[in-house]
């Protein structure tokens, strides 16, 4: 009887696992199938190397190089801004703060991660974009930089929690020894905690990159959505924002509709690469 229960349990658990794996496969296959229709008309290399996106024009004007670059650019700007702040916060949290305030700060950071992205976008639109227009005299505040700043705020919690965890371990492991040797705290942070957390800092960066590339709503609201080559202070468009913007109006079955799926397919591939990279970093990098 017990044996039977055991076996049923095993089967159910395995089926559930299989289900989640199949889900991923189905999504990728589905997106690929939908984009195949488009790739038959416009070859994939043309799609990702062309510089013009005009859904009203002929099919060869549906290509997304500027949009791919915009996606990467906005995320990179976000990382550049978020990384120093995030790593700094993690150092303070792990090495300079007592247990009780630490817990409070950590939960605040966690709340930061839980704020819906529309809210970030909304604040970005009304505060950041307006600030650019009024104080810095931009003709229009929508820009890669605005998107990057909003993304940086959204990436912060991920960077902080990933780094904080390993730094905390390092600090606890070595604080007694360094106290015994009489070295100052900042020396210990610089020479032991930071170098030994290299791996997790790197992992946090890649994680944030993936997060940034997939972000839709907040970015869409502050970047202006113009499919042109991205420059730091000019408008741009990202793949998720492109899909969210145009999918509602694209006629089902039209080439435009399939082109949007192709954009989604490219994005999935990019994100898969990022995640595989993350996996390798976690396994291969020493320490």
């Amino acid at each position: 009887m017990n044996n039977l229960q055991e076996r049923i349990f095993k089967i159910i658990i395995r089926l559930l696992t299989l289900f989640s794996l199949l889900l991923l496969a189905f999504i990728i296959i589905f997106i690929f199938r939908e984009s195949l229709v488009f790739f038959e008309v416009v070859p994939i290399y043309k799609f990702i190397s062309g510089t013009k996106w005009n859904p009203l024009g002929p099919p060869d004007q549906l290509s997304i190089l500027p949009i791919i670059l915009g996606t990467v650019y906005v995320s990179l700007v976000g990382i550049v801004l978020a990384l120093p702040i995030g790593v700094g916060t993690a150092v303070v949290l792990s090495s300079y703060v007592d247990e009780r305030p630490k817990r409070v700060i950590r939960s605040v950071v966690d709340i930061l991660a839980g704020i819906p992205s529309v809210i970030y976008g909304f604040v970005g639109l009304l505060v950041l974009v307006k600030f650019f227009e009024i104080k810095l005299f931009f003709p229009s505040g929508e820009s890669v930089l605005a998107g990057g700043i909003v993304l940086a705020v959204m990436m912060l919690p991920y960077i902080i929690s990933t780094c904080d965890e390993s730094m905390d371990k390092m600090y606890k492991e070595y604080s007694q020894y360094s106290q015994a040797l009489g070295v100052s705290k900042s020396y210990m942070v610089r020479k032991i905690v930071l170098p030994r957390s290299k791996k997790s800092i790197f992992a946090a960066t890649v994680l944030a990159l993936g997060r940034g590339m997939g972000e839709t709503m907040a970015v869409m609201m502050v970047i202006g959505n113009a499919p042109i080559m991205p420059k730091l202070l000019s408008k741009t468009q990202t793949i998720p924002s492109l899909i969210a913007l145009e999918m509602g109006m694209a006629e089902v079955g039209s080439l435009h509709y399939h082109a949007l799926f192709s954009g989604g397919f490219v994005l999935v591939i990019m994100l898969l690469i990022v995640n595989i990279l993350l996996y390798f970093i976690e396994n291969k990098m020493d320490i």
Binding site: N54, T216, G224, A226, E251
Partner: protein, 320 residues
């Protein structure tokens, strides 16, 4: 923990993608015309073929994605009010009201009426003569007009200098030929014109492109707003912005943005309905042949004050 977070994040990203992908593919029967995004407004599942001969408890609409939400809203109201047909008129049998509204573009709407795949076709443009001919006996209802106003920020002195732009000037502004405001009028500041538009594939941009731009493309670095609301907000927030705000939105934000005349014609309700204002399109419903009593009952509701009110709430100018 680290791994868990990353794993979790992987899944979150995947699901996010899955949800994005789901949006446009609600169903995919009826592949021949590629017109889906079906919205069923069924009250109760078990409604068999009508007992009475010739009576159809089901009405189907197909066509313009601009008009579809309006029809859905009116249909929902209609169903909520009556639930079954005998409440509409005691001579009708007691059957649940079913109204299907599906969007697939104006072309698909006309086609479905010609082929008889749906009872009504919704068009967000004038019906072409050849379509009329093919239908043979068309019954056309004008529900309202969808109009766009060329609006600017109240702080922009342009509207004091001249409150009227010609189509030619508008075309030059939106195509990027005029890059700075002082090119439009030399007394204005040398500031970059911020052009705000909706997404290029959408209905609103279609109206603008057809009535003003023609074959000239809109400048590439124009800001594409995710919604009409966002477009209006941008004009309200940015002194140097210009964009095509829908007539309904301008009325809701009176004073916060200034609509300009186009070719000397002011965007007022009268000018829009009588067709003299240029940037507009009619919203019509077409039916082949005479209406059955139950279809007439529903269309009466659409053409009634209540229907007009819903049309107005959706940001269009009702015709009645």
């Amino acid at each position: 923990m680290k791994k868990k977070i990353s794993l979790l994040l992987c899944f979150v990203l995947i699901f996010a993608l899955a949800l994005t992908a789901c949006q446009g593919t609600t169903s995919s029967e009826d592949e021949n015309a590629g017109e889906n995004i079906e919205e069923s407004l069924e009250e109760n599942g078990d409604t068999e073929e009508a007992a009475d001969e010739g009576f159809k408890a089901q009405i189907t609409f197909n066509g313009s994605s601009t008009l579809a939400p309006v029809m859905s809203a009116i249909a929902t109201d209609f169903i909520e009010e009556y639930t079954t047909w005998n409440n509409v008129d005691p001579s009708f049998p007691e059957e649940n009201i079913i109204i299907y509204v599906s969007a697939g573009g104006s072309g698909a709407g006309a086609k479905s009426v010609i082929e008889g795949t749906s009872d009504f076709g919704m068009l967000a443009r004038d019906i072409k003569d050849e379509e009329k001919e093919k239908i043979g006996d068309p019954n056309i209802f004008l529900l309202g007009m969808d109009a766009l106003t060329i609006s600017i920020n109240p702080e922009n002195p342009l509207h004091q200098i001249k409150d009227d732009l010609s189509s030619e000037e508008i075309r030059k502004i939106f195509s990027g030929e005029y890059k700075y405001w002082d090119e439009v009028d030399s007394s204005l500041e040398h500031k970059e014109i911020v052009v705000v538009i909706r997404d290029l594939g959408g209905g609103a941009h279609g109206v603008f492109q057809d009535s003003i731009m023609g074959d000239t493309p809109v400048r590439e670095d124009a800001i594409q707003s995710p919604s009409m609301g966002a477009l209006v907000t941008k004009i309200i927030e940015n002194k140097y912005a210009i964009g095509y705000a829908s007539f309904g939105m301008v009325n809701q934000n009176e004073g916060k943005l200034i609509p300009l005349k186009v070719d000397g014609i002011e965007p007022t309700k009268e000018n829009i309905v009588n067709g003299s204002y240029k940037i507009s399109r009619p919203l019509i419903v077409v039916k082949k042949g005479e209406l059955t009593p139950e279809q007439k009952a529903f269309m009466d509701m659409v053409m009634s004050e209540k229907g007009s009110q819903i049309i107005e709430e959706m940001g269009f100018v009702p015709a009645n």
